[in-house]
Amino acid sequence: MATKKTFEQSMERLNIIVDLLEKNEQPLDETIKLFEEGLGLVQECDKQLKGFEKKIDELASKKVEE
């Protein structure tokens, strides 16, 4: 699910989730769902970002090789 989101959409959703968790007014089931979703998004974002970081490093270092 989260994989189809762009990084920004994921981050935006994460902000909403964190706000909701902070307010902690939603029912327990909802909290679980939010937590799960939030965790997934964090992982997804982290993964994406790591991919980006790797890609940048690769591309930047490519210059040296040539």
Partner: protein
């Protein structure tokens, strides 16, 4: 006089160095009239340049003089390109001429001004019409004379600055009557060649030499040309009609090439800078996002999600404790029950006690009442006995009286008795049974 005294050579040498160092005095353009012209056998030209007020001695060395298309004569009004210096031997200020041309308005000059005015009025010099020069031309057209210095300048400049570009060259006449027609034709070919920019260059020369570039047809052709054209005709001082109509005018052929091309070193540097900017920008963007992601990663919820439950746990514990109030409920009921139970027990025993007392009181009353009654009756009876005793008819017997009775009763008269009768005489302590022996009546009765 305490000032130092210098030798004249020292002063002159000092003056020369001062002037030589002054950039304003180098490669200047000066106008004036020629006089005392001498063509030395060494090839150098010596003359004086004068005007109404001043004069200066000039020298034009053979290296420059030999290239000049113009041959001066006294009285000619000229424009010189020259460096100023001091000739040390004579201590004279001198112009070292590098270029010379006729000044003053001749026929050609009049034609030039007329054409310039006409084309200007017709809008051929309109800035808005001028095409933009591409920054990075990859195909550069060059129209110039064959084997000319101008061509060499362009080719060498191009090789130095922008060797990437393809050079498309068309050599034409650049002088004489046929020149402008050839140039027009060349421009047409260049349009077909689809070059990015077109250089039209020629070295310096007299107005006559450059006249081909003051051609109206050529000017209109340049105006209509779809390729941006840079002109570099003559030297700085030379201006032709094509310079006005072209999209950009360079002072020299070299200048034209320089304008038309970027310096490859600049481009390489620029490219390196752009690449750095790209990487830097992208890195900072990713770093920014990394900070955001890490912020989320490090949030309490994700590190210790238990906090999400803690609040609820506390609430539950609290409410669970409050449930224990139920034992208070039974305690309260028990107290209530015991109160009622005690209450009614004490009421019952109170009642029993009260009733018992009542019964006792009544019993006592009855006893007392009855006893009193007896007392009273006893006393009453006692007084009766007393009275009866007091009035007893038998009391007189004690004093000696007696009561006589016969069978008929008490005898109160002798007449009631007959002699011989048996009479009972009652005394206080008994009776006498007697017999009447005789009777005696009393008188008076």
């Amino acid at each position: 006089m305490s000032q130092a005294v210098v030798k004249v050579s020292t002063l002159v040498s000092y003056l020369k160095s001062k002037i030589d160092q002054d950039n304003y005095l180098q490669r200047i353009l000066v106008s004036g009239e020629i006089s005392n012209f001498v063509h030395h056998r060494s090839g150098h030209w010596y003359f004086t340049l004068k005007d109404e007020a001043s004069r200066l001695s000039c020298v034009m060395f053979s290296s420059s003089a030999s290239r000049s298309k113009y041959y001066p004569k006294d009285g000619d009004k000229v424009i010189l390109q020259a460096n100023t210096s001091v000739f040390e031997s004579s201590g004279q200020l001198q112009l070292y001429v590098t270029g010379i041309k006729l000044d003053g308005i001749g026929d050609l000059h009049i034609q030039f001004e007329l054409l310039k005015k006409k084309l200007f009025e017709e809008g051929y010099f309109d800035e808005n019409h001028k095409l933009e020069i591409p920054k990075y031309p990859m195909r550069i057209g060059l129209i110039t004379g064959k084997n000319t210095a101008a061509r060499e300048d362009v080719v060498s400049t191009l090789a130095r600055r922008w060797p990437i570009a393809d050079l498309v060259e068309i050599n034409t006449l650049v002088q004489g009557e046929a020149a402008s027609a050839q140039i027009i034709q060349a421009i047409g070919k260049m349009e077909k060649e689809e070059v990015d920019v077109l250089l039209l260059v020629r070295g310096g020369g007299s107005i006559e030499d450059l006249w081909a570039f003051n051609d109206e047809a050529l000017a209109k052709c340049i105006y209509h040309c779809t390729i941006p054209i840079i002109t570099g005709v003559g030297h700085e001082i030379d201006t032709t009609i094509v310079d006005y109509v072209s999209d950009l005018r360079a002072p020299t052929p070299t200048g034209a090439c320089e304008i038309a091309t970027p310096d490859q070193e600049d481009v390489k540097q620029n490219l390196a800078l752009l690449k750095q900017a790209l990487i830097k920008q992208c890195r900072s963007d990713v770093e920014f996002e990394r900070a955001q992601v890490n912020r989320f990663k490090n949030m309490t919820w994700f590190i210790s999600p238990g906090t999400l439950v803690d609040q609820r746990k506390m609430k539950l514990d609290y409410i669970s404790n409050r449930l224990q109030i139920v034992s208070y409920s039974s305690q309260k009921k028990r107290i209530e029950l015991e109160q009622v139970s005690q209450n009614f027990k004490s009421l019952v025993s109170k009642k029993l006690h009260q009733v018992g007392l009542e019964v006792q009181t009544k019993a006592q009353f009855i006893n007392q009442n009855v006893m009193q009654r007896f007392d009273r009756e006893n006393k009453k009876l006692g007084s009766m006995i007393h009275l009866l005793d007091a009035y007893s008819p038998l009391n007189v017997l004690k004093r000696g009286y007696s009561i006589t009775s016969n069978s008929k009763g008490i005898c109160t008269s002798v007449k009631q008795v007959q002699v011989g009768d048996e009479l009972t005489v009652r005394l206080t302590d008994g009776e006498l049974i007697t017999k009447v022996n005789r009777k005696e009546s009393r008188h008076g009765n």
